[in-house]
């Protein structure tokens, strides 16, 4: 299935500019080896597939500092991974909505991935300054795609907790 480059580039541009104050520049399909964080979001609907994002660690750190309005030296590994997961979450929805605006999809939670990009056929990099960020959208035959991971449904009413120990974090 052909994925229109313009659609995915525009979707990533919207997300990166709005949330991270960065402008991606399409660089072509070369995929150099880089130390990176990979996150996937599964989706099901009229088609099923996996939206995978791979971000170089240096860029991920910089994006986190922009997102949280802190200096680049301050974000911890947990914050960086959480930022990339949120990027994948929002970028997947933005792309799918732009690509198939009249269809409804269900999405899984963003999960870390380690598969090599070479195994993803529809991959093209979107470079945002240096170092580069690479984006892959991979569609597998429906029979090979597991159902998207979703949290199990909760059952039962909730009552007020008197001990206060699990209350919300007062910001």
């Amino acid at each position: 299935m052909n994925i229109p480059q313009a659609v995915i580039t525009e979707a990533m541009t919207e997300v990166l500019e709005t949330m991270y104050f960065m402008s991606p520049i399409y660089q072509g399909e070369a995929l150099p080896e880089i130390d990176s964080l990979g996150v996937s979001v599964w989706f099901t609907g009229p088609i099923r597939g996996q939206f995978t994002l791979r971000v170089s660690r240096g860029l991920a750190s910089r994006m986190t500092s922009e997102f949280l309005a802190c200096e680049a030296a301050l974000p911890g590994p947990g914050q960086i991974e959480a930022t990339v997961r949120e990027l994948a979450n929002v970028a997947c929805g933005t792309f799918m909505s732009a690509w198939m605006p009249d269809e409804n999809f269900e999405y899984g939670v963003p999960v870390p991935v380690t598969e090599a990009l070479e195994s993803f056929p529809h991959s093209f990099p979107v470079g945002a300054d240096q170092p580069k960020m690479y984006l892959c959208v991979y569609l597998r035959p429906p029979g090979l795609i597991p159902p998207p991971f979703r949290w199990p449904a909760f059952s039962g009413p909730i009552s007020k907790v008197d001990n206060g120990g699990n209350g919300g974090i007062h910001a």
Binding site: E17, F21, M22, S23, E66, A69
Partner: protein, 188 residues
Amino acid sequence: MAASSSPQLLQTQQEVVVGVGDCRTAVWPVSALTTYALGSCIAVVAWDWKLRLGELLHVMLPDSAIDRTASGAAGNPFLYVDTGVPELPRRLEVGGASKSRLRCCMAGGANMMADSASFEMGKRNRMPIKKAFWRAGIFVDNEDVGGNESHSVRLDLGTGQGDLRKGTAPGRVLAPGRIQVFAEGSGR
């Protein structure tokens, strides 16, 4: 153009015109802060609704790294987004403004070059401004950035109303509009 290290709070003039690479702070009963012919430049406007204290920054380029000499960013930080925008909240606070009461907007950033797709100076100015405000913790209430026409902006210090005009010739108004950001005496 020499930049002042601390803002001169203008209180006696009727209307203050802000030029390219300049930043002016004024308080009511000064009637307005105005800047013309923005082009790819961007005007950043901030107003403290309680004090009726306003500031208008007319910034030209995104990154001062191209010229940190005395004739560039070192002499006039308001030419560049990265050196000028952080000055804006600091100057307002010197004047007694509160960050939580500030109402901000920005306008301009037009693509004035024929080959606008490759240059996009307006767009290059806009993003660093948004980032600088995000880092400073100031909410940009509204913006009118882009297009192919030069903008003029006027901030009424008494009401906080921002007027935006588009046109390249003095006195010629193609599409008068308003930055609907500040209501008279507004506060939250």
